[in-house]
C-alpha cells in the first residue's frame, strides 16, 4: 500500500488553496491588534497584513522567502503587484524578519526557502494578502467619497472615481485604510486578467549586482567591526593537539585569539589578511579522534552491507518481487551517487554583535528563525533578544539551510563585545560542509515476453537528512526525501516495491543539496529505464512512450523534447544522445542531451534540450534562467564532482581539487516551455535533477558503457 507515503506527502505539501486561505486569516495580527490605533495616527504605516506595508515613502512588500539568486524576490513581488495594481518600479522589497507565526512556509513547516517550494507556497497567500490590502484602500477611498467601492478603478496605485475624475494615491489613502475591516471574501484575478504575471519582467535585485553596490552577508561593515577567520578540526570530532598562541598574537594586525572548547579556534584581526596570517602562525595540530581512520571506501563498505537487508517499506504494490521472479527478462543493478559539496561562491560568514543582554546577527540564511535560535542558544539568550538582519546570499544551494556556521561563530565570540565578522576561508567551507549524502541504490526490474515492464524494486540506502533536520517529520523510519522520485515515477507502473535503509556515514555531516532526493533518484531510475529499453531491444524514447498512457503531461514534455532534439536523426560517429524524464517539485521535465565521446580525455557536452511544464508561470524568463543554471549545476556535479576522505579528512579543499564547470565546457541549452494554467510547480531544482540521467544515457549510447557510479571523472 502507498498510504504511508501519501499521508506523509499530505503533511508536507498540503494544498495551496486550503492553506492559503487559512494563512491569510492567521497572518493579519498587526491589523487586528492595532487597527484603531493606526487609524488615529495618520503618520503610521498601513500594515494590513504580514506582507504589505504602505506609508508616505511608498509600498514595501515583505518577502517570506529568501533570495539566493533564484529570482524569488521578483516573482513574489510580481504576484503581489498584480493584485495591488502596481508595477515593479513602484515597490520596494524587504526580507522578512524571523517570525514563524507570519512567515512559515506552509509546506515546509518552517520559515525556510528550499525544495523549490516558494512559488508553490506563496501562489495563493501573497496574492490574497495583496488583494486584501488593495480592497481596504479602495474601501477607504469609497468611504471618503461616499460611493460604492465597486465603481472605483485602480491603476499604478492610483484609485480613481471614473464618474467625476477624483483620485487618491495609495500613500494618501493608506492611513484611512487602516481603519477599514479586513476583507473576509477575497476574489483573485483570473489568469485572463493578468497584466504582470506571465511576463518576463526585469528582476528587482539585479541593478545593484552589476555595479558592486549589492551588499551580501560577507560585505557587512559596522563601526568598530573586526574580522575573524576560523579553523576547525579536519576530522569530525577531532581536537586541538597543539598551537603556537604567542606566534599568532605577535602577527601584525591580530587583535585576539578565541577558542570554543577543543574543536575550533578563531583569530580576530583588523582585516581578513591579518586574521589569515595569524591563523597560519598558530600552526595548529589536531588529534583525529574516533574518525581518524574513516575513508570513502570504509563508508561505501558499510553502505553496501546495509543495502543487503530489507529497509523500511515505502511503497509495495502488486507484489513486485514475485512479478520480477517470474518475468521473461530480469535485470538488476547497483547505482552509486557521491558526496557533494555545495560550495556557493560566497563562503560561509556571519557578523555578530553580542552586547551582553542581546545580540545582533547579520547573515544570509535560508532559515532566519533557526539562525536566531542558533545564536540565542549558543550564548544563553532567549531568541527574542537576537535581532536577525537577513542579507543577500552569494548562492546557497541548500548550504544555508543549516546554521552550524552561526552556532560556531557564537560559541567562539561569546565573550567578545565588539562587532565581529566571521568569514570562513574557502578551504574551511569546503572541508566542513554538510554534504549531499552518498547514496547506494539497488534496483531490479522484470519485463514480460512482450517486453513490457511488469515489476520494479528500488532500495535506497543512505543518510537521512530528515532525521536530523526535520526530526518531527521523520516517522517510522520513513524519509520521504530519500525516496522522492524512486517510489513514484511518471510511468504506468502497478507492481513497485521501494524501501529505504538508513545508514549514516562515519565522520560526515549531510544535508540538503540542490535537487535533493530527485537529483540522485532520477539519475538512477532514468538510467535503469534505459537499461530496461536495451534489454527489451527497444528505442529508449519508444520504450518510455509505451509506459506513459496515463500521464499526458509527462508524455507531452517528452514528445516536445524529442521533437526539438531531433530524436532518431543520426549523430556523428562517437556521439550519443540520452533522455531523462521526471515529475519532480510539481514540475514535468524532459531532457535530451547530445554528447561527443570521441576524445579519450573528456566527454564534451554538445546540446541540451529541455521541455518543461511547470504549470502557471509567474515569470517565464526566471524559469528559463533556472533551467539553464540548474542544468549546468547538475551537469557540473555529474561530470566532475565528488567529496572523498582520507584518514577521516575531506580531500577536496578548493576549486582546484573540486572542479566546477566553466564557460568553455557548457553545452548549448535550449528550453521549450509549455504554458498552461495548472497549479504552479517548482523550477529552482528541476533541471539539476534531470542532468545526470541524460548524460549517463548519452554516454552509453555513444560508447556502450553504462555509467552506474558518479561522477564520470572518478
Amino acid at each position: 500500500m502507498i498510504t504511508n507515503l501519501h499521508s506523509r506527502r499530505g503533511f508536507l505539501k498540503g494544498t495551496a488553496l486550503a492553506t492559503g486561505g487559512i494563512l491569510l486569516s492567521l497572518q493579519l495580527p498587526d491589523a487586528m491588534r492595532s487597527r484603531a490605533a493606526l487609524a488615529a495616527d495618520s503618520t503610521a504605516p498601513f500594515i494590513p497584513n504580514a506582507f504589505v506595508k504602505i506609508d508616505e515613502h511608498g509600498v514595501t512588500l515583505i518577502m517570506p522567502h529568501t533570495e539566493v539568486g533564484q529570482g524569488i524576490y521578483t516573482s513574489s513581488a510580481m504576484m503581489m503587484a498584480e493584485e495591488l495594481e502596481l508595477d515593479l518600479d513602484q515597490v520596494t522589497v524587504e526580507a522578512a524578519p524571523p517570525d514563524m507565526s507570519k512567515y512559515m512556509d506552509p509546506n515546509l513547516y518552517d520559515q525556510a526557502t528550499g525544495g523549490s517550494m516558494s512559488t508553490r507556497s506563496d501562489w495563493m497567500r501573497l496574492r490574497q494578502a495583496a488583494a486584501a490590502a488593495r480592497m481596504m484602500m479602495v474601501s477607504a477611498a469609497a468611504a471618503r467619497w461616499n460611493v460604492d467601492p465597486s465603481t472605483l478603478k485602480v491603476e499604478r496605485g492610483i484609485i480613481r472615481n471614473p464618474a467625476n475624475g477624483q483620485h487618491l494615491s495609495y500613500a494618501e489613502i493608506a492611513p484611512a485604510a487602516a481603519g477599514q475591516p479586513v476583507p473576509t471574501k477575497i476574489t483573485l484575478k483570473q489568469p485572463s486578467q493578468f497584466r504582470l504575471i506571465g511576463t518576463g519582467a526585469k528582476r528587482v535585485d539585479t541593478p545593484a549586482k552589476v555595479n558592486g553596490s549589492a551588499v551580501y552577508g560577507i560585505d557587512m561593515r559596522l563601526p568598530g567591526m573586526k574580522i575573524a577567520t576560523l579553523a576547525m578540526s579536519p576530522v569530525k570530532g577531532g581536537t586541538i593537539a597543539s598551537m603556537d598562541e604567542a606566534a599568532c598574537r605577535a602577527t601584525p594586525g591580530v587583535v585576539d585569539l578565541v577558542r570554543s572548547g577543543n574543536d575550533a579556534v578563531a583569530v580576530i584581526g583588523e582585516h581578513m589578511w591579518a586574521a589569515k596570517q595569524g591563523l597560519e602562525a598558530l600552526a595548529i595540530t589536531w588529534d583525529s579522534g574516533a574518525n581518524g581512520k574513516v575513508t570513502l571506501d570504509s563508508i561505501i563498505e558499510k553502505l553496501d552491507e546495509a543495502s543487503r537487508s530489507q529497509g523500511v517499506v515505502i511503497r509495495n504494490e502488486k507484489n513486485a518481487q514475485a512479478s520480477i521472479d517470474t518475468a521473461a527478462i530480469k535485470l538488476s543493478a547497483v547505482y552509486q551517487s557521491p558526496f557533494l559539496s555545495h560550495s556557493p561562491l560566497e563562503p560561509l560568514n556571519c557578523t555578530l554583535h553580542i552586547t551582553g543582554d542581546g545580540a545582533q546577527l547579520w547573515v544570509g540564511t535560508q532559515v532566519p528563525v533557526r539562525a536566531q535560535k542558533a545564536l540565542a542558544d549558543a550564548i544563553g539568550l532567549s531568541p527574542d533578544k537576537v535581532t536577525v538582519h537577513n542579507q543577500l546570499m552569494g548562492g546557497a544551494f541548500g548550504r544555508r539551510l543549516d546554521v552550524d556556521s552561526i552556532e560556531i561563530a557564537a560559541k567562539l565570540l561569546k565573550d567578545i563585545r565588539y562587532p565581529v565578522k566571521m568569514v570562513w576561508t574557502r578551504e574551511q567551507d569546503m572541508t566542513h560542509d554538510y554534504y549531499r549524502p552518498y547514496y547506494y541504490d539497488r534496483v531490479a526490474a522484470g519485463l514480460d515476453a512482450d517486453r513490457r515492464l511488469v515489476g520494479r524494486t528500488h532500495r535506497v540506502t543512505g543518510s537521512s537528512i530528515y532525521a536530523r533536520w526535520a526530526a518531527a517529520a521523520f516517522k517510522n523510519g520513513i524519509d520521504p526525501d530519500a525516496v522522492d522520485c524512486a517510489a513514484e515515477t511518471p510511468y504506468d507502473e502497478d507492481a513497485v516495491l521501494t524501501d529505504y535503509v538508513r545508514q549514516e556515514p562515519d565522520g560526515m555531516n549531510t544535508s540538503w543539496w540542490r535537487g535533493v532526493g530527485p537529483t540522485h533518484n532520477v539519475f538512477v531510475v532514468e538510467s535503469f529505464v534505459d537499461e530496461m529499453a536495451a534489454a527489451a531491444k527497444q528505442d529508449p524514447l519508444e520504450f518510455r512512450r509505451r509506459m506513459l498512457t496515463r500521464n499526458p503531461r509527462a508524455l507531452a514534455v517528452l514528445d516536445l523534447a524529442a521533437e526539438k532534439a531531433g530524436w532518431g536523426q543520426p549523430l556523428p560517429a562517437g556521439h550519443g544522445r540520452g533522455i531523462s524524464l521526471q515529475f519532480a517539485f510539481g514540475t514535468y521535465l524532459a531532457h535530451i542531451l547530445d554528447i561527443d565521446a570521441t576524445s579519450s580525455d573528456q566527454i564534451k557536452l554538445i546540446r541540451s534540450v529541455i521541455a518543461v511544464d511547470c504549470g502557471i508561470t509567474i515569470n517565464p524568463d526566471t524559469v528559463l534562467a533556472q533551467m539553464q543554471g540548474g542544468m549546468i549545476f547538475g551537469l557540473s556535479a555529474a561530470m566532475f564532482n565528488q567529496i572523498t576522505l582520507t584518514d577521516g579528512a575531506v580531500d577536496q579543499t578548493n576549486f582546484d581539487t573540486y572542479r566546477v564547470m566553466r564557460i568553455n565546457e557548457v553545452p548549448t541549452i535550449e528550453v521549450h516551455h509549455i504554458l498552461n494554467n495548472e497549479a504552479p510547480g517548482g523550477v529552482g531544482e528541476a533541471a539539476t535533477s534531470a542532468a545526470a540521467g541524460a548524460l549517463a544515457n548519452a554516454i552509453c549510447a555513444a560508447t556502450g558503457k553504462r555509467i552506474r557510479s558518479l561522477p564520470l571523472s572518478a
Partner: protein
C-alpha cells in the same frame, strides 16, 4: 604609507607589502564590490584591472602594483566599454545570485577592450577563469556579444 589610485581617486594605505589587494580593497578601503571566492586564483570573483589588464586581486600583493591605476567594479561605469557591459548584463538578465558577477564583468570589459568583436572561442579563452556556481554562462556569452554590438 602607500598611495593607490583606484577608480581615479588616490588613497593612502597603511598596509604591508605582501598584503593582497583583495583585502586592502574590501577590509581597509571598504570597497566590497570585489569579492572573495577562493583566494587561490581559481574562481575569478576578485577580478580587477591593473592598468588595462584583468588580474586576480587575491594574488596581487601591494608591492606588485607599483603605481599602476586600479579599476574595480565600482569604477566600471566610468569606462564606456564598462557601461556597455553593465547595460548588456541587465538587458540579458544575466545575474542570479550575483556574487561572481563583479569578476565576470571586469573580465568581460578587459576582453572587449582588446577585442571589440570576440568570437565564442575568444569568450571561452577570456572568461574560463571566472566560475559561476549559478550557471549563468549561457547569458554571459550572450551579454558579451550584445555589449560588443552596443
Amino acid at each position: 604609507m602607500k598611495q593607490l589610485v583606484i577608480n581615479g581617486i588616490a588613497h593612502d594605505v597603511d598596509a604591508p607589502d605582501d598584503m593582497p589587494l583583495l583585502w586592502v580593497l574590501r577590509d581597509v578601503l571598504g570597497m566590497t564590490g570585489t569579492k572573495y571566492g577562493c583566494g587561490i586564483a581559481q574562481c575569478g570573483a576578485c577580478t580587477v584591472h591593473l592598468g588595462d589588464q584583468a588580474v586576480r586581486a587575491c594574488q596581487t600583493t601591494l608591492d606588485m602594483i607599483e603605481g599602476q591605476a586600479i579599476t574595480t567594479i565600482e569604477g566600471a561605469a566610468g569606462n564606456p566599454i564598462g557601461a556597455k557591459v553593465q547595460t548588456a548584463w541587465l538587458e540579458k538578465e544575466v545575474v542570479q545570485c550575483g556574487y561572481c558577477q563583479s569578476g565576470q564583468i571586469m573580465s568581460a570589459i578587459a576582453l572587449l577592450s582588446t577585442n571589440a568583436k570576440p568570437t565564442d572561442a575568444d569568450i571561452d579563452d577570456a572568461m574560463a577563469g571566472n566560475i559561476c556556481r549559478c550557471g549563468t554562462y549561457v547569458r554571459i556569452r550572450e551579454a558579451i556579444h550584445a555589449a560588443a554590438s552596443l
